[in-house]
């Protein structure tokens, strides 16, 4: 209480800047009132349980609870980094994740821009509606089909290879082909659904800009590069930064359903390895430690990317 009063007194004596901030806050009080609802929800459902993260540093025992369980001197982290298979999984995660960012991330952007060039409304609507269908098929179902498509005995890909006189290849058992298949199927599944947000961004581009460009006799390609792309760039940047936050998520469901021991060397990622290590088997503490590690790396990437982008443009998360 006392502190509050002194703080208030002190703030009165502060410079104009503070004062104007206060005026600003008062002027915008309705905005703070709006923010109150999501902030309270977030506080209850995200901040209240956040203390649980400490079990990453503890040996969790249910009877002792989260607070009562003993500290364990970073044993979970030691376990992670003393395990050569975890290191291998970390490496694979980063490789696959980066490839996905460079290939699977731009795909929906290109798709949305190209779709924008189609002038038949019916064709456009139908193509777009179809393109987003595979998003709704779970990897359990899709993987069964992918395995069939690439099957050395029944798959269409190998059928084509043998027609041209080649020998069938067991693609999914091959360390060379497995990663490209991951990338292709990821794009295949998510391109249409991923394009929606960019289509929304394109939809809000001011049409006058295109008209003005037409006056100048700009070609379609030039309009694409100089109007459409820059207009959706803020959205692209935000999604890119947020995607980097998930750098250590390389696609658990997809890989779990497609991989096999022959390709562990390139395909075993942190999530699949931890899953196989039996984390559904009550190792809540170790799972929390792995999750914490992944998130810390993610936040480092977000901070880094945001800083770099802020230096060059005004689009950033903050």
């Amino acid at each position: 209480m006392k502190k509050n009063i002194t703080a208030n007194v002190a703030s009165v004596n502060l410079k104009d800047k503070r004062k104007s901030t206060w005026v600003q806050i008062k002027r915008m009080k309705l905005l703070y009132f709006m923010l109150l609802f999501p902030v309270i929800m977030m506080f209850i459902f995200n901040y209240l349980p956040m203390y649980g993260v400490i079990i990453a540093f503890k040996d969790f025992s249910p009877g002792l609870g989260i607070w009562g369980s003993p500290w364990n001197d970073f044993a979970h982290f030691e376990r992670m980094f003393s395990d050569f298979l975890f290191i291998r999984a970390l490496k694979n995660t980063i490789v696959i994740s980066f490839l996905k960012i460079f290939i699977a991330f731009p795909a929906p952007i290109i798709f949305a821009i190209l779709l924008n060039e189609i002038r038949s409304p019916k064709f456009l609507k139908v193509t777009q509606s179809i393109s987003y269908l595979p998003h709704f098929m779970s990897w359990v179902i899709l993987s069964a089909m992918i395995i069939e498509i690439f099957s050395p005995q029944r798959g269409i890909v190998n059928f084509i290879i043998t027609v041209f006189g080649g020998d069938p290849v067991n693609f999914l058992a091959s360390k060379v082909f497995f990663i490209p298949i991951l990338l292709i199927t990821d794009v295949w599944k998510e391109i249409g659904y991923g394009a929606i947000i960019y289509l929304a961004a394109i939809a809000s581009i001011d049409t006058e800009m295109y008209e003005a460009a037409d006056m100048d006799g700009a070609s379609r390609f030039r309009k694409m590069i100089h109007i459409t792309l820059p207009s959706i760039m803020p959205m692209v940047i935000i999604l890119f930064i947020l995607r980097l936050g998930g750098i250590l998520n390389a696609g658990f469901d997809q890989i779990l359903n497609l991989y096999n021991p022959l390709v562990y060397e390139v395909a075993d990622i942190i999530d699949t390895y931890v899953y196989r290590s039996g984390l559904e088997q009550f190792q809540f503490d170790y799972a929390t430690a792995v999750g914490l590690f992944k998130n810390v790396i993610g936040i480092i990437f977000i901070l880094g990317a945001n800083a770099i982008i802020r230096r060059r443009s005004e689009h950033g998360i903050w």
Binding site: L48, G63, I66, L85, N170, L172, Y273, G278, E280
Partner: protein, 564 residues
């Protein structure tokens, strides 16, 4: 200022939230004066008990048939636990948050009964009380050595941490090989011994069995013929001998047995304790498989398909050899869709199956890994720490009645003739609940309070007569069991070692190393002879050595079986 306020509120709120579970609540085993407790059969005081089942799906309805009868019989009020015990996440969370019913039998993975007790979640069950209130259970333990010394609290000989289930349904060889009999006939290959038909109809007329076996060399010749001699006579070279799966080792159970091996088990090799996966015999097994793969006998696609897909491939009729459980051969309903029964399901199918004894290996070994390593006791029934001695007395009497008195059949199937009927000959075949009653849980409450424990008689209620016949005449015949069941040399049956903790920590690493090497070895990506030493070293270095050292402290299985 705001920040500080937020932090303060955060801290106090979390304390409130967490407070409820931070009680260690360890009850130090005060001696129970059994004489003070009511006599067995004295139910004069009405008790309220929060009970749960052990294989239930949380579908039990309040005031069901079994509940009402039990409430009347034992003068209790039952509170039902609606929990899907197959839902590992929910079960683990319930345990992790200390939120448990009075009795529970769900196994939260990775937690031993000692750990649950140490965590303050469960109470011990005094032997004296068991003798007084659950005599049938104690008798069952005596008959299944080393039953009475299992699950004791560390440092005591009369306090149990849990009760245990009797697993008579897993007796005998769990698996055996089968071959396509119609292919053998087409190729003019003699069966190894006299054949018997499994049953007269329902596809069983197309399935035969013999207790005689081929040797591994003979099998190799057969598989070669299956692969290259057009056994189905369609003029195409589209068949394979054997189709393994990439997600488990079921396919190899009898083949490993031919080398005297049980996967995951251990034995003495040249006087030294060794795990199956790094033994010389296992190396020989891998070399044989690699040879077969090289010869083309193994479907090369196996690396990318799991067991379920492999069953579908079998159904298409291109595979000659498959492993099977007795129930598959008996065409039991629950095994529908699994190989090899799925190929004879269709009435038009002309496929025929021959089940043989496990293959005979180069050193005369023959066998299959036992489903349970030592004795057919498994599973855990726990009593919550909040249960008083009076309550425990009542609980034990209910437990003993519904699980070990076969007059309590109504708790599983209701009254025969009213709720259920014999599938075939009375008392010799399975019981089927009538369609108007819930088969399990629901309004009938069948199975809702029972523990997963089956003596021989109860096994008859759940298995078809054909499965039982197959087991009696072959898979579980005494001499077959004696000769062919592969058990580990040592096993930590009494929870005396830290193996469980080591396993939690290292199993992910070790399984990955083993799976990767096995697969690469079979398809020829690594030269087994050249890479073997490196593989073993890698295994030992990544936790294998500690596990073997710890395992060495465990008792010898043969001694355990003698009750020593």
């Amino acid at each position: 200022m705001m920040k500080r306020y937020v932090m303060g509120a955060l801290l106090s709120a979390t304390l409130v939230v967490a407070g409820c579970s931070s009680e260690a609540g360890k009850k130090e085993g005060a001696e129970v004066d059994v004489a003070q407790l009511p006599e067995a059969g004295d139910f004069s005081e009405k008790l309220t008990l929060n009970l749960s089942g052990s294989i239930t799906r949380g579908k039990v309805e309040d005031d069901n048939y079994v509940q009402k009868r039990l409430e009347e019989q034992f003068n209790i009020k039952i509170e039902n636990t609606k929990l899907d015990t197959w839902n590992a996440e929910q079960v683990n969370l319930m345990v992790a948050s200390g939120d448990l019913p009075d009795t529970f039998a769900f196994t939260a993975g990775g937690q031993t009964s000692q750990q649950l007790y140490d965590s303050g979640l469960t109470r011990t069950i005094p032997k004296e009380m068991l003798e007084k209130y659950a005599p049938r259970y104690m008798k069952m333990l005596e008959e299944n050595q080393p039953g009475p010394i299992l699950n004791l609290k560390k440092g005591t000989d009369n306090e149990y941490l849990q009760l245990v289930g009797q697993y008579s349904h897993v007796y005998g060889l769990p698996w055996g090989p089968t071959l396509r009999l119609d292919w053998l006939e087409n190729l003019g290959i003699e069966p190894p011994g006299e054949m018997t038909q499994v049953g007269p109809s329902g596809g069983r007329e197309k399935i035969f069995y013999t207790d005689a076996a081929y040797t591994l060399d003979e099998l190799e010749e057969i598989l070669t013929a299956f692969t290259f001699d057009d056994p189905d006579g369609n003029g195409k070279n589209d068949t394979y001998g054997i189709s393994p799966a990439n997600n488990n080792l079921n396919w190899a159970q009898s083949l490993l047995g031919a080398f005297g091996l049980g996967s995951g088990y251990n034995f003495l090799e040249d006087g030294e304790l060794v795990k199956t996966e790094i033994s010389q015999k296992y190396k020989e097994f891998l070399k044989t498989m690699a040879k077969w793969y090289d010869m083309g006998l193994i479907d090369p696609e196996f690396t990318t398909i799991d067991e379920k897909t492999s069953w579908e491939k079998y159904k298409q009729g291109n595979i000659g050899y498959y492993i099977a459980q007795p129930s598959y051969l008996a065409m039991d309903d629950w095994a529908k869709g699994r190989a090899p029964q799925n190929i004879v399901e269709n009435p038009q199918s002309t496929a025929k199956i021959l089940a043989t004894g496990p293959e005979i290996g180069p050193d005369g070994n023959q066998g299959v890994r036992a489903y349970l390593p030592v004795v057919n006791l498994a599973d855990s029934f726990y009593v919550s720490k909040d249960v008083t001695d009076e309550e425990l007395a009542r609980i034990l009497q209910i437990f003993d009645y519904i699980n070990h008195d076969n007059d309590a059949r109504w708790t599983l199937f209701g009254e025969v003739g009213e709720h259920s009927d014999w599938e075939g000959e009375p008392n010799k075949s399975a019981l089927k609940v009538r369609p108007e009653f819930a088969k399990e849980e629901g309004n009938s409450g069948f199975w809702a309070y029972n523990f997963r424990t089956y003596d021989k008689e109860r096994v008859q209620w759940i298995n078809s007569e054909y499965t039982l016949k197959l087991k009696n005449e072959f898979y579980a015949r005494d001499d077959i069991q004696e000769k062919m069941l592969i058990r580990p040399y040592k096993w930590d049956m009494l929870n005396e070692t830290d193996l469980k903790e080591l396993e939690n920590r290292y199993s992910g690493q070790l399984n990955t190393i083993v799976d990767e090497f096995r697969m690469k070895a079979i398809v020829g990506e690594v030269d087994i002879d050249k890479e073997w030493d490196k593989y073993v070293k890698n295994y030992l270095k990544n936790g294998g050595e500690q596990m073997i050292e710890e395992l060495d402290k465990a008792p010898i299985v043969e001694d355990l079986l003698k009750g020593e």
